[in-house]
Symmetry: C2
Subunit: 345 residues, 2 copies
DNA sequence: TGTTGACAGGAAAATGTTTTCCTATATAAT
DNA sequence: ATTATATAGGAAAACATTTTCCTGTCAACA
């Protein structure tokens, strides 16, 4: 692979000139420009981004810390991130923590060593770890899809409690009054979605009943078990709100296995609108999250922060303000009616 | 962030000594070692991997070129890759070509600029592009899950024709003689799986009929349409082999929509055993690929090649041999019987 | 005692860029 | 004509490492 020195020699100019031509960082006479371009083309020169990174202190790399890439939701989000990042000439490196939060520390160190320009977090990190990280490095962080409370770290996602509220209100509108909740163990998400659930019940004068709320890790299998537990109650709910489609699918399986019909015996509503929900029979009514879009916006905002931060290294004031302004992006959710909810009057 | 110089100063030793202690590249007296370790701990020093990469000409980064990360199959494979890579201290950067093969070129350039240590390809690349790439750089390549013919590039995956053969033989064993094939547009995969299909029919004295083979891009939706087309035949097949679970799920949907029963009216068998296949009703009988494992093995083999290559830069002979030996890893597939295939005698 | 060898550790080169600093030339202004 | 100014372009520093080369000390051996 040719390097800048070889190009300089071939074009009969100095190294500086080649650099200037490549980056347009200072005017160069047309004559020399041409000589350089010719040499570049002939030798198929590509600047070594490592050397660049070293001196510019910028890697054009962002890290995505993801609980589990093989999970449909995360994969889709990741795809959104990658899409925008690629357009903006950033590379994406993935840190799959396999829902094993201990790995987090290892990955944080890795990202520090690699001098990633920014990090997108896809799960609710313990705030102490975040704080510890921020103490060590100024690398911008951003939460996507998981709104962690008690931090000023930028966020992009949807209004979780409103979305849950909408889901449950919809069930109520359809005449349901005994409404179960199956929610996940993710602290941030679980709490907010449960909050929306309770709020909806309260606003419609329906008492919140503890036995109607079951709480499991988010997965198809746990959704199944959660529903099993729910069906052991003396009186079944007529509708169940599952806080993720994964769990909803498991719950659906369980209901069918018990010989009950959906939506005739029990209505079901999910959350996320992942691919699964359209494929399952009956098709799942659910809250749609613009997952891909969340990923894209997350990348956009993060890169924005990275670049304004870079520019403003002299004048700090302006940067902080502009970051503050755009530090929370809430995208629209929607309810998509499919086949798992039925009137109940 | 502290650098090696600061550590050296703090420990009262030379830069070289710090480096030697960090890497164990040359013996250092216990006394100085301790001084260095203390300084490292106190200042929380982490070697800058960029500077390292620059001088060692090694990034510990591998690229994965993936048609579509949000696709369940690819996401799972990626997760396998990342898993092994992380253990071996490699980072994974993703190149999502969105099934848009033009982006390929852009990504190849990007990887060259970034000096990735190796690349895993997850789709059947035009061989000319590969050849062009190899002309420009010695970066090791590897195909995972897609066996491209006519190249010596290492491969990790399953025996595609045998697997298809097994699927179709299974249907035949169950008494089916009119067996449809829905296969994808991916050239390498489509060709091999079709080959297995034909071979199975031939070996059992069943004529291959053109109208029983329909050919569409691989997706749920296209699976649906493919099945629609198949059902317009004067005489329907009694069983259909879909060359991917995605298509099978679409096909299943279509059959159900037409008011037919699965497996009573039509048997269906898929390929891949992605998450979907267990969640769909009836549950899909399919060929299981060890997807995650393929990813892991791909990463393992690639990294192996990278490292032996690095070591052997002096003596080239041994490297080439050892690479040749292990350049194709075929993992075991299996047939998983679920609910979409029924006897037909 | 003098010579050889092993070996710990430092100085400096090398990696491939960008950018600062400087020089020399050309243009404009007095 | 002389000075001032802009500007094209080169030399070299800087980035954070690893590694080669060298020096000096100490032990072993003749």
């Amino acid at each position: 692979m040719p390097n800048i020195k070889m190009i300089a020699r071939k074009a009969g100019v100095s190294i500086s000139t080649v650099s200037r031509v490549m980056n347009g960082s200072k005017p160069v006479s047309p004559e020399l420009q041409k000589r350089v371009y010719d040499a570049v083309k002939q030798m198929d020169y590509k600047p070594n981004s490592i050397a660049r990174s070293l001196i510019l202190n910028k890697t054009n790399l962002i890290g995505v810390v993801v609980p589990d890439v093989s999970n449909s939701f995360h994969a889709q989000l990741l795809s959104g991130v990658e899409g925008y990042a690629a357009e903006a000439d950033y590379g994406v490196i993935i840190c799959n923590v396999y829902r094993n939060w201990d790995k987090q520390q290892k990955y944080f160190n890795l990202m520090l060593e690699r001098h990633v320009d920014g990090i997108i977090l896809l799960h609710d990190n313990p705030l102490e770890e975040i704080a510890a990280f921020q103490k060590m490095s100024a690398t911008p962080l951003l939460f996507a899809s998981v709104p962690v409370e008690g931090t000023t770290i930028p966020f992009v996602g949807i209004d979780e409690v409103q979305a849950s509220y909408d889901a449950v209100s919809y069930l109520i509108t359809k005449g349901h009054r005994e409404i179960g909740l199956i929610y996940g163990e993710c602290y941030a998400l679980g709490k907010l979605r449960r909050e929306g659930y309770c709020k909806a019940l309260n606003n419609h004068g329906i008492p919140v009943r503890d036995e109607f709320m079951v709480h499991r890790p988010s997965s198809v299998e746990h959704g199944y078990h959660a529903m099993e537990q729910m069906l052991r109650l003396e009186k079944n709910p007529t509708a169940v709100f599952c806080v993720s489609d994964e769990m909803a699918v498991g719950a659906l399986d369980c209901v069918l296995d018990k010989g009950l019909k959906i939506p005739d015996d029990i209505s079901l509503i999910g959350f996320d609108d992942i691919e699964l929900s359209q494929v399952v029979r009956p098709k799942l009514t659910t809250i749609h999250q613009p997952i891909h879009e969340i990923g894209r916006e997350a990348a956009r905002l993060l890169i924005d922060i990275i670049e304004t931060k870079g520019k403003a290294s002299g004048r700090k004031k302006t940067y902080e303000i502009s970051e503050e302004i755009r530090s929370k992006i809430i995208l629209n959710h929607s309810l998509v009616e499919r086949e798992t909810v039925k009137d109940h009057f």
